[in-house]
Symmetry: C2
Subunit: 158 residues, 2 copies
């Protein structure tokens, strides 16, 4: 059990997440759209069509929050709700032309950003970094355990 390596991993992942997260937050607020709305648009755009419940799970928010976020998108003419003919409980969400444009522009922006990140990585290390991110991503996703397992039991609960 290598305690030292996991400490390094923890540190690097933390800084990375915070840095990219802040970047997102700062830049999202400058275009009249909330971060939650932006994330929703990006996921709807990638999936093409999706129902609110799955979208809520994907983004890790409550379905009521999702419902309201979708309201905002619809009011801003960025997304539309359709009723699924087969099962009328289901609602299908899709992007409008406006939303589609937003989605594509933002995806291009993100690629451009990561392009410039890539340029800051030595050329002979790029494929290694790409592969490692995939490995790390898979390890994180497969790790069912919680981040702060000890909180409930070991933390002073005020």
């Amino acid at each position: 059990m290598d305690w030292h390596e996991s400490s390094i991993l923890s540190e690097r992942a933390r800084i990375l997440v915070r840095h990219l997260g802040n970047l997102e937050k700062n830049d999202a607020s400058c275009c009249g759209i909330s971060l939650a709305q932006c994330h929703a648009i990006m996921e709807i755009g990638r999936k093409g069509k999706i129902n609110p419940n799955d979208l809520a799970d994907l983004l890790g928010v409550d379905k009521t929050t999702m419902s309201r976020t979708i309201n905002n998108l619809v009011e801003s003419d960025l997304a539309v709700r359709h009723l699924n003919g087969g099962d009328r409980r289901y609602v299908v969400i899709q992007l409008t032309k406006n939303g589609q444009r937003f989605f594509e522009n933002t995806e291009t922006d993100m690629k451009r950003y990561f392009q410039s990140v890539l340029e800051r990585i030595p050329e002979d290390k790029r494929s290694q970094v790409l592969e490692s991110l995939e490995i790390f991503k898979a390890a994180v996703k497969n790790c069912g355990c919680a981040l702060y397992t000890g909180w409930k039991s070991t933390h002073p609960t005020q």
Copy 2:
């Protein structure tokens, strides 16, 4: 200019950030403390002592938000404010005994989590992943540009 690689990079970083972010969010809410408060505790703990302004910059929030977050911590007996003798404009924040315990427990939890992530990475890839994360982190930090540079100009602004 390799558009394909930056696309892959973007995708992997995005999923990683969202996954770890959600993990944080879900687990933070279960111990009577907000995510903002938790982040603040962790940074105060790592720095030992820090002033509100620097802490706000570090966490990417407004200083007024920081002030209130610190209020919460003080009320919960997790941190204390001290007046800096030298320049009485400055406030120094430190953890209380309670806060210190919280900090140490959480740091241990995080290490434990990343330990189990590490165990899911093939042994012969671990040092490569660790190195790559460092490279990637540095590249992200040094990249002064914004994530969504095009939003202001190219996005439909509502």
